[in-house]
Symmetry: C2
Subunit: 413 residues, 2 copies
């Protein structure tokens, strides 16, 4: 939505009105110059009112992996509004947002942790916190940012304001599947020992709970949107493991036993991203590793309820926020295609080919649009999720992950 | 499960379980100093942002009913940052947010519809759209704001930018229970005829689907967070009615039949707010009308699964966002008290008395805090939802509804 001008009279000396004008200017370069002028004018105005007219609720960041930059996007205008550079190695990068939706914490594969300001479009702090890291999370109260590391194996926790390290939790193992849960807690798993740990940071010192017996080589994990069920994918087993975190003493539960039994595994071009698992109606839907299918699991009993054959090996299987439809992208060489599955009938209802290298999909918070990163086309493409009509596209340099600021308000990311 | 406590000895840099807490160690101090230097260096490079730059992700509005004003609050700072006046009759007022979290649409009982800018803290548009209205909603794409009216009976739809009326849907009845669902659609119910209508605004002209037989005198309704199940409370029946909106032809389904049978109804001091119904674990929890209890209904089967006796007649029964706990406030004269119910055991685990006239409760988006309007104390009070510790309070004039901007990203409000 284009913000309405606050005053019908463009000459009225409201310090924020110039910003609206600059946002609506079509040419990017001109817009940037106008923005600079506007910001200068704002500084001179020193108004009593909060003067920046840039709300943050509909912004987002797109990871540009090849150039180590982030494209700042405006969801309502379906446009890019800036770029933040100098973020190092952004292959497999992910990020989380501060509760106010002003700051993003970017987790680079190279161990870099960067704090960026989406309003100022700058890096405000950056630390190399490990040699090889694999994602992070922010605590429910926004005070702590945690990163899970391969090298050295463990989790490090940082003050969200300053990026000062406040806790170091070595695990003696590559550490994966880090998520936040309520109560200023984080959950993560250990590749080498098959354990899941819960770190409670609500008090003066971290309290750690260790849960053994999750299975051989957990490689990724997710927690459900309510923070209750933690599910780990296992590289060394033909099943998954789940924990009910609402129990006082959570015990690992085997789910989907022998889900690939009797079938020759296809080569795994790309490990499925378990963060893509999602609740779709009464089921979770998840990509089957090494198979051309997605699996449906009853959210309550954790029993398999069905399988849907797909175009290729699924990478992400993501529910539209209402759970009515599931969108799936695929591993190389079939990664030019997207399929849409009806979560009631479990049938593919739509298939299309956005372009080469569809790497990620992000829904607007209430699901009316989906944004796709089409890496080798150098574009982010926007589609209507009801009509499947293409609504727009945005130039981007080798785009991968797309992250809207609404994630600030969700658990378990 | 063995919680691994850190060593109580602050001089020991490592505890027996191998954890390292940098903030208690010299190494941590060094790190902090190095980081401070890094930040100082970065600060020199960063372009100046207006000092008053204000992100919108953690803001909120508190309805001040007696004075017809809105208090602007900052969730992270637990503070008020301004006041917007001139909104007319705000008794029973509610509001929704634009997708960018800059604008709120305020629905007054007197038929006033106001658009306010939370950054500029001003009213940008205001229309008297009916004589007596009862709440509204914003479409999933943010284009349309709809209001349900008693007088004249029906729904009116407005352009979210301009507040120009774009559709008038007379129903010949008092109209209640208006909610948004995916697909640029609204659902609402008719007090006089017991019908529920679905209005689809995705095309050039509104398409209306009428569903008959919901029951006598629906007085309020809700839709579940996924936009799938619409449940109407009935003034003239001893049950509720539900619709599965994912069906091609939704049929009313009776739920909680005879839930008050054989018990003399207590006087209804205040009709429960069905928007307060919420998913708590596997159940919906809802206030029983005229009784001192909340009812639990299986979210899948819609069968009753339990009742919890409460301190008084519940007004709101609201789940913490993760569903683990349900917070309940009560009708006059017991409205100085709040109870907290565990959604697993269905037992009251905490009760306290914030003060006279607890009218509303709003959780931070990830549930670490709850904000309470305590009308007759003239305060909004903030509590930690894990420890129940009071964290702060904010002066407000007869506060009622509290609305955080994160609502912009949720369906069915």
């Amino acid at each position: 939505m284009t913000p309405a001008n606050l005053s019908p009279n463009a000459n009225e000396s409201r310090c924020h009105s110039g910003f609206h004008l600059s946002r609506n200017t079509p040419a990017g370069g001109l817009r940037a110059r106008l923005l600079a002028l506007t910001l200068a004018a704002l500084a001179l105005c020193a108004p009593a009112l909060p003067a920046s007219a840039q709300p943050t609720g509909d912004l987002g960041l797109v990871v540009e992996r090849a150039s180590g930059s982030l494209l700042v996007v405006d969801q309502s205008d379906r446009a890019s509004i800036g770029r933040i550079t100098g973020l190092g190695d952004l292959s497999h990068a992910s990020l989380v947002y501060s509760p106010d939706e002003q700051f993003a914490y970017v987790f680079g594969r190279d161990g870099g942790l960067s704090k960026v300001d989406i309003l100022a479009q700058t890096i405000t702090a950056r630390v190399m916190q490990a040699g090889n890291s694999i994602g992070g999370a922010i605590s429910d109260d926004g005070r702590f940012v945690a990163v899970s590391n391969y090298e050295p194996g463990g989790v490090r926790v940082f003050d969200a304001d300053t990026l000062e390290m406040v806790a170091d939790i070595p695990t003696g193992s590559k550490t994966i599947g880090l998520v936040d849960i309520p109560g200023t807690r984080f959950v993560f798993s250990l590749w080498d020992t098959g354990e899941t740990w819960i770190a409670d940071l609500s008090g003066e010192t971290p309290q750690i709970t260790r849960i053994k017996g999750m299975g051989t080589n957990p490689y990724d994990a997710l927690v459900t949107g309510d923070g209750r069920t933690y599910i780990a994918g296992l590289f060394g087993e033909d099943h998954l493991s789940a924990l009910d975190l609402w129990q006082e003493h959570p015990e690992p539960q085997v789910i989907l036993p022998s889900y690939a039994k009797g079938r020759e595994g296809l080569p795994v071009y790309k490990m499925p991203h378990l963060e893509g698992w999602a609740l779709a109606g009464q089921d979770f839907v998840l990509p089957a590793m090494g198979q051309h299918e997605v699996l449906w699991v009853d959210a309550r009993s954790l029993q398999e309820t069905g399988r849907t054959t797909t175009h290729g090996q699924p990478v992400f299987a993501i529910s539209r926020p209402d759970g009515r439809y599931v969108w799936v992208n695929f591993a190389h060489p079939l990664n030019d295609t997207v399929q849409v599955i009806d979560s009631v009938t479990k049938e593919v209802i739509h298939q299309f080919t956005p372009g080469p290298g569809v790497l990620h999909m992000e829904f607007t918070p209430r699901g009316h649009e989906v944004w796709l990163s089409v890496r080798d086309a150098g574009k982010v493409m926007v589609y209507d999720t009801e009509t499947f009509e293409k609504l727009g596209e945005i130039a981007a340099e080798s785009p991968s992950g797309i992250f809207f600021t609404a994630r600030a308000h969700r658990m378990g990311l």
